[in-house]
């Protein structure tokens, strides 16, 4: 009798409840971290290469978020509304730092093409982080305007939908773009 082939599910990412620096990871943060770990780490792997380093960075990010959650609780400040997003952004910041470190330690024997390629990687990563920051700083209406603009809606269509003029819609969006331009300039990333 031919034996049925057993299909094993792919192993989940097993994160430690303590990061490599010995800081604890809150159980609530840990469960969210487990969820986003596969995608986040595979993305990081493309930039850094070493999955173990990426996993360490991810655990460090989770521990940092746990500390922030606790700090906010103790000080009575508003809790973080979207821990998943907060953790993702923290990880991306950490990743960006690590990538910069790697770049600065590269030897001069590296070819120009390679260097340009890695620089492009950093720029797009930092750009993503900046986009998150700029979008998060916008009010709900501006965020919605951006989402409609992404689908090619005209200013007239957007204005009509939100009961404002086409000019007002465009001005709101332009202000967000202006903020991004300034942030890019401040960080020395080509806009």
């Amino acid at each position: 009798m031919p034996s049925k082939r057993e299909s094993k599910p792919s192993p989940p990412f097993l994160l430690n409840s303590v990061d490599p620096l010995g800081r604890p990871i809150d159980p609530a943060v840990l469960s969210i971290a487990q969820e986003i770990a596969p995608q986040a780490i595979s993305y990081a792997e493309k930039l850094l290469g070493d999955p173990a380093v990426c996993l360490n960075l991810f655990e460090e990010a989770a521990a940092a978020v746990s500390a922030t959650v606790k700090k906010r609780e103790l000080s009575g400040r508003d809790a973080i509304r979207d821990i998943r997003r907060y953790l993702y952004r923290t990880f991306m910041h950490r990743l960006s730092q690590e990538r910069r470190k790697q770049l600065s330690s590269k030897t001069s024997s590296e070819s120009l093409d390679e260097r340009q390629g890695t620089r492009r990687g950093i720029s797009s990563l930092e750009m993503s982080l900046l986009l998150d920051e700029v979008m998060a700083a916008c009010d709900k209406l501006t965020q919605e305007i951006a989402l409609r603009r992404l689908e090619g809606f005209s200013w007239q269509e957007i204005g009509t939908r939100y009961g404002i003029s086409a000019h007002a819609a465009r001005v709101r969006f332009s202000k967000a773009l202006q903020r991004l331009r300034k942030a890019l300039k401040a960080r020395g990333i080509g806009g």
């Binding site: 993503s128 200013w155 007239q156 773009l177």
Partner: protein, 99 residues
């Protein structure tokens, strides 16, 4: 910064073009949520496309950090755009036939 206030569809500013391209790619790919944690029901996304004032703020915030929801909303908006363009065309042809 000089700009026209006409309801133009095309994006002429290269910076805006780049911003929109990167933002779209970022929102579509960088926030996987396979278990759909914290996602609003699809009706809320439909409502957001039609009557945005009647949808709570957190739904829009969620769209900026959940690729599956963003992709669904993006499809809803595209359908809405196609539908309104079709309606406009029908009205126009009816007007031409009547005149």
């Amino acid at each position: 910064m000089p700009f026209s206030i006409e309801g133009r569809n095309k994006v002429s500013d290269p910076f805006e073009k780049k911003f929109l391209r990167i933002l779209k790619r970022h929102l579509s790919r960088d926030f996987p949520n396979p278990k759909r944690i914290g996602c609003p029901p699809k009706q809320q996304l439909d409502k957001l496309a039609v009557a945005p004032q009647r949808v709570p703020d957190w739904v829009v915030e969620h769209l900026l950090s959940c690729s599956p929801c963003y992709l669904t909303y993006s499809r809803i908006l595209r359908e809405q755009k196609t539908k309104s363009a079709r309606e406009k065309q029908i009205t126009k042809s009816r007007g031409a036939a009547a005149g």
